[in-house]
Symmetry: C2
């Protein structure tokens, strides 16, 4: 499950874990969109395939970025959540949103979100990572 | 060269551009390691293949993250540089380094770099992006 590390570089080793678009879209769904179930990730507009999604969920869990628990409403299904290690990717994703907002105004970055991030990133992250928060979209 | 955008999400559209490990390693080489030539990127310890490297350089240039100019020392070769759009990925890469430093102490993130980033990210970025800087490694 865990891939071999290609070098000791902190950027490269991070990319060995989540350096493909689909892993970070799962983190995005958990962090910004309040999605927690396999079917909800599958339903995202980027149309991830079932085998890629299943693989990325396993890999993210193997690396300790997400946890899964049995869904109390559906005993055969699971609910996913970010661990602290996964939540700690929030600053990186916020920088990615700001980069897109700066360089590609046609993306759907929320003006309120971008303004809040430019004003005070620390405060935005505090609000974003507050337990139970599912309100702050991008 | 430019891939079709999978959604209007600012994270997804950024990942459509650089959401693979090799693109960001080229940005890393330009930003932190002072590498500017094809052969220098090829020589990085992650061992990118020639066809992937050539493809990523073309894609990064097509999206305006890097420029290339004829190498004055070798008329048949090129020197690559980051555009402003490429340099603006520095905050995201710094967050990636901090994430690795926090969650995987076995990576080779420089203690000085991490301490400087934790103390004052804005000042670190200012020094990192200063014209002619090739001193700040990770």
């Amino acid at each position: 499950m865990t891939t071999e590390r290609r070098s000791d570089c902190p950027i490269s080793s991070a990319l060995d874990i989540f350096g493909d678009r689909w892993s970070l879209l799962v983190i995005r769904d958990l962090l910004f969109k309040g999605k927690v179930r396999y079917g909800e990730f599958l339903d995202s507009e980027e149309h991830v395939s079932t085998n890629i999604l299943a693989d990325r969920l396993r890999t993210l869990q193997a690396h300790g970025l997400i946890d899964k628990q049995v869904d109390p409403d559906h005993g055969s299904k699971f609910i996913y959540s970010l661990t602290q290690k996964g939540r700690d990717l929030a600053p990186m994703l916020v920088e990615m949103i700001l980069w897109s907002a700066e360089h590609d105004p046609t993306t759907a970055a929320s003006e309120d979100f971008v303004a809040a991030a430019r004003r005070d990133k620390r405060e935005l992250l505090r609000r974003l990572l507050r337990p139970g928060n599912e309100q702050i979209g991008t």
